[in-house]
Symmetry: C2
Subunit: 316 residues, 2 copies
Amino acid sequence: MILLLGASGYIGEAFVRELQRRKHEFIPLARRQVDYTRFDVLLNFLKSKQPELVINAAGFTGKPNVDACELDQAGTLVGNTLLPQTIADACAAAGVPWGHVSSGCIFSGAKVSENGTIRVEKDMTQPALHALAEKKSAAIHGFSETDTPNFSFRDRPCSFYSGTKALGEEAIAGIGQSYVWRLRIPFDEFDNQRNYLSKLQRYSKVYENVNSISHRADFAKASLDLWERRAPFGTYNVTNPGFVTTRHVVALVEKHLRLTRKFEFWANDEEFYKTAAKTPRSNCVMDVSKLLATGVKLRGVEEALEDSLKNWRPEK
Amino acid sequence: MILLLGASGYIGEAFVRELQRRKHEFIPLARRQVDYTRFDVLLNFLKSKQPELVINAAGFTGKPNVDACELDQAGTLVGNTLLPQTIADACAAAGVPWGHVSSGCIFSGAKVSENGTIRVEKDMTQPALHALAEKKSAAIHGFSETDTPNFSFRDRPCSFYSGTKALGEEAIAGIGQSYVWRLRIPFDEFDNQRNYLSKLQRYSKVYENVNSISHRADFAKASLDLWERRAPFGTYNVTNPGFVTTRHVVALVEKHLRLTRKFEFWANDEEFYKTAAKTPRSNCVMDVSKLLATGVKLRGVEEALEDSLKNWRPEK
């Protein structure tokens, strides 16, 4: 039996669907039934039920966006740092392995190899990307699991949200047996306020950038596959291989959804942060070689995007 | 046997002295021997040694003052919030009671009763205090253990330090068997950069305010007394009964240490924060009725101050 925490959340839902599809027995534990944020309560529950795996899909993301986390720092810390530590401690004490939904948003930019050296470009905007693309000698690489987060309380600037996610990874590192599954900007075919493809359509203006992103069901599948294959515990970037620019995704949305609306873009970061955003946003490219090397399959980002848009289901 | 964490720190030293005086067997555990910040490591250590009590005197205070915590938010969170939670979890899993050195700095101001009602005055400056003293109908009360912190991430403004201390109390609340001992502005007869009486003498200008304060050895004694008397677990304010104004303490320092130097004061809070401080300071009056009701003895603040200054030992 698998114990699922945060089952009613946006990512939790994807685990519910995937576990049902696999006919895998699981308990979607609600906090009002058992307050799993309390160490003693969770430890007793784990000892009595002895699940084979605990999945933590609970967390504090901020509504409508990450700016809200700046206004509720205690809630953000409790949800993204203290809760993972509580779960790590309880699972270790009960001898139960677990998986934590973390985020790639603890990185900013990308790695660039050029002339035999690799450097980090923290600010990989679309113009910067194009400038690089014109140089045949340069190549873009994603951050791997051995890279230290560069968008965290230890490497500022960062958003408070990202700071707490990075510190959450730190808080659980080396405790018991755990997977850290890093998600980035979830999307799929279901129109939803948390879906990247929906968000893009609802913004008054769009923010240009370069990112690796995660198809929600693909993320849940790959995360469970790691466990089912008994891949070594540890951290895994779980984004669809590759990366996309906002302009490219907007073009795909326009094409597949036959939108009449014309998308506008913020002139630059300065205008975006002055007008629309309070706290810095993470935009980053992730490397998923570690995941793929385990044998787990994950569609390329283009295929996942096309598929989502072809099967688009607007909210009623 | 008592296990003491943070034995080499300013408050840890006081526990070492008091435990030695009581001839109580204890282990002053250094992190380089056993990394007690790691849950598994600490849990195994507790299971094998089965101490009767764990004391956590470790924490992150910021050097030379609390402003430094604004620059190392990760370190401040790790030391004051994540570490207490790790200890709480490990002690609960091992069935070991423990005591945590917390701080009264999660409060600001005082409570004022007047005309049959009690209100919180968050900004209890010296002029405000004097204005109240002239009214015979008003009385000042300290914050008690049932009051909710009003200088925390949940009740801003606060310093990052205070936010992490308040969140530390939240993180360990209700887990296992624990004492939370709240210290405020430690002082004693030993000249030291952490000693309030030394700090006052080293400031170029002094910041006027009203505070409850803790004699360092009295604090360690009272905390251990609570445990030895088997007082109920929970939170206790451990400050010397009463409160003092900075001007009064300066007058005592001038009198007892026969200083020729004339102390200068900041004109007001505005000047202080503009010139000398980056983050807001907590100044508060604490109520110690709960501690005294257990039968634990604690000298009044005047006696403790006079005694420290009469036995003053300048640093070499």
